[in-house]
Symmetry: C2
Subunit: 235 residues, 2 copies
DNA sequence: AATCTGAGTTACAGGCTCTAACAAAAGTTA
DNA sequence: TAACTTTTGTTAGAGCCTGTAACTCAGATT
C-alpha cells in the first residue's frame, strides 16, 4: 500500500521527537538531570523554546517519553545478554550482570529510571512509561519461570508467611498471570528486591560511606540470590 | 558571666536560622522538595527573597543545613527508641523499627536524606551534613558492637571473601576504629545495606509494582537480619 | 552626637515553564 | 497556478526561580 502524505508528515514528526529525546539525553549525560530543560534542548537543536511544545505538551510529558525509551533500551540490552545459553540459571546471572553494567555505564540514565520517586503519572496503567517498566520486570519473571520449570528451587511454605504478606504475594501472582506457584513468586520478589535495592543504592552513591568499588559487593549479592534460586554457579 | 550584646545578636541570628529551616521543612512536607525555594521560604516568613542570603549563602547551603538537622533529629529518634532494654538484639530491632517508622511517617524528609543522590558537598569531610550522616551510621555500628561483645554471631571467614571486598571491609573497619573484627563488620555491612536498601526503595515507591503494604516485607527483612546476627526474636 | 555594622529593602540579570498571538512554510484543492 | 487550510515555527510576555548590587535604616559602639 502506497504511503499517503499524512503518513509522511507523521514520520517527519516522529523523527523530530526522536531528535528531541536524543538531545535531552545528551544533556542528561553531560550535565545532569536538571540540564534537560525545554529551553536547553531547543537551544541545542537550533529551535526556540516554545517549538518543543508542539511535540511534547509539557516538560513532564517529555520526561516520561525519555524514561519510557530508556526502559525499552534497557530491556533490550538485557534480552540481548540473556542470549540463548542452555541453563536458565546462567541466563539469569547474565541478565543481572547486564543490568548492573547498564546501571554503572549509564548512571545518569539509571538514576532517572530507578532512583527517582515514581511520580503519579506512572500510576496510570496506560502510561507508556508504566508499560515499559512492567515489560522490564517481566523479562526477569519469565526467566525465573523457566528456571522453576527446569529445576524447582526450594520455596518456603506459604503458610509460614505473614498473612498480610501472603495476600500481597497472591495478588501479585494473580496480576502477573504467571505459571509460578505463589511460594516461588515470593522467592522471586525477595531476590528481585535485593538486587534492585543494591543497584539503586549504588546509583545514588549511598553506599560510598562503606564501599568504593561495588563489583565484589554485587557479586556477593548474586551469590546469595543464586543460593536462594538453587543456581549452582560455575566458579 | 554576663552576656555581651554580640552574644545577643548572635542568638537572634541563630533564631532566625532556625525559623528559616523550620519554614523550609514545612514547605517540604506540604508541597514537596521543589517547594523549598528561597523565595517561597522568604515569602512565607514575610521577608523579601534576598534577606535569606544573609543567613545562608546559597540554596544549596540551606539545603545542607536542613539535611544535617534532619539527620540529627533522626539519630535522636533512634537513640530514644533504643532505650535501656537489656538485650542488644532487642535494642537493635527496636532501633530498626524506629528508623522505618521515621521513614514512613516522614517520607518527604527521609527522601531528602537517603533517596537523593549524595552530592559532592557531602564528600567534604568537614561538612556539617556529612558529620551528621556519619554519626547516624555509628549508632547502629555501636549497637552491633555491643551485640557482638555479649554474644558473637557467626561470621564467615574473611579468607572466603573476594579479595577486593575484603580490602574494603578492612579499610572500613580501620576507618571507623571499631572493636569489631573485620569478619563481623562484613556481616554488619551486609545487614545494614539490606535494611537500608529496602527502606530507600520503599521511600521511592519503587516497590509499588509488587507490594502495597510494606510492613510485613520489612518484618521479613528483619527476620533475615536477626538470623544473620543470631538474634532470637521473641515471637 | 557621630559613626559603624548588620539586616532588611528594591532593582535587576538571567534562568526556567508555558501561553498567546502571529508569521511562514507546506500540503490540498479549486 | 492560485487560493485555502493545516502545521510548524516565531516572538512577546507572565510568572516562577537563584543570586548580586546598591541602597536605607535601626541599633550598637565610640
Amino acid at each position: 500500500m502506497a504511503q499517503t502524505a499524512a503518513d509522511w508528515r507523521e514520520r517527519q514528526r516522529e523523527a523530530t521527537r526522536v531528535e528531541i529525546r536524543r538531545t535531552a539525553r545528551g544533556l542528561l549525560v553531560e550535565s545532569g538531570p536538571e540540564a534537560m530543560s525545554v529551553s536547553a534542548i531547543a537551544r541545542r537543536m537550533g529551535l526556540s523554546g516554545p517549538a518543543i511544545y508542539r511535540y511534547y505538551g509539557s516538560h513532564d510529558h517529555l520526561m516520561d517519553a525519555v524514561i519510557a525509551e530508556l526502559f525499552n533500551e534497557l530491556t533490550e540490552a538485557i534480552e540481548q545478554a540473556r542470549g540463548g545459553r542452555a541453563a536458565p540459571g546462567e541466563r539469569l546471572l547474565a541478565m543481572s550482570r547486564a543490568l548492573r553494567s547498564w546501571a554503572t555505564a549509564r548512571t545518569a540514565e539509571f538514576r532517572l529510571l530507578f532512583a527517582a520517586p515514581v511520580p503519579e503519572a506512572n500510576r496510570r496503567p496506560d502510561s507508556e512509561r508504566r508499560q515499559a517498566g512492567e515489560q522490564f520486570d517481566r523479562i526477569f519473571l519469565r526467566e525465573v519461570e523457566a528456571l522453576w520449570a527446569e529445576r524447582p528451587f526450594p520455596a518456603p511454605d506459604l503458610d509460614r508467611l505473614d498473612p498480610a504478606l501472603r495476600a500481597q504475594v497472591l495478588a501479585y501472582t494473580e496480576r502477573k498471570r504467571t505459571a509460578l506457584p505463589p511460594a516461588a513468586v515470593h522467592v522471586f520478589l525477595t531476590c528481585w528486591t535485593r538486587l534492585y535495592g543494591l543497584l539503586v543504592m549504588e546509583a545514588l552513591d549511598q553506599l560510598a560511606f562503606a564501599y568504593t568499588d561495588l563489583d565484589p559487593v554485587f557479586e556477593a549479592c548474586l551469590d546469595d540470590i543464586s543460593a536462594m534460586l538453587g543456581i549452582s554457579e560455575p566458579r
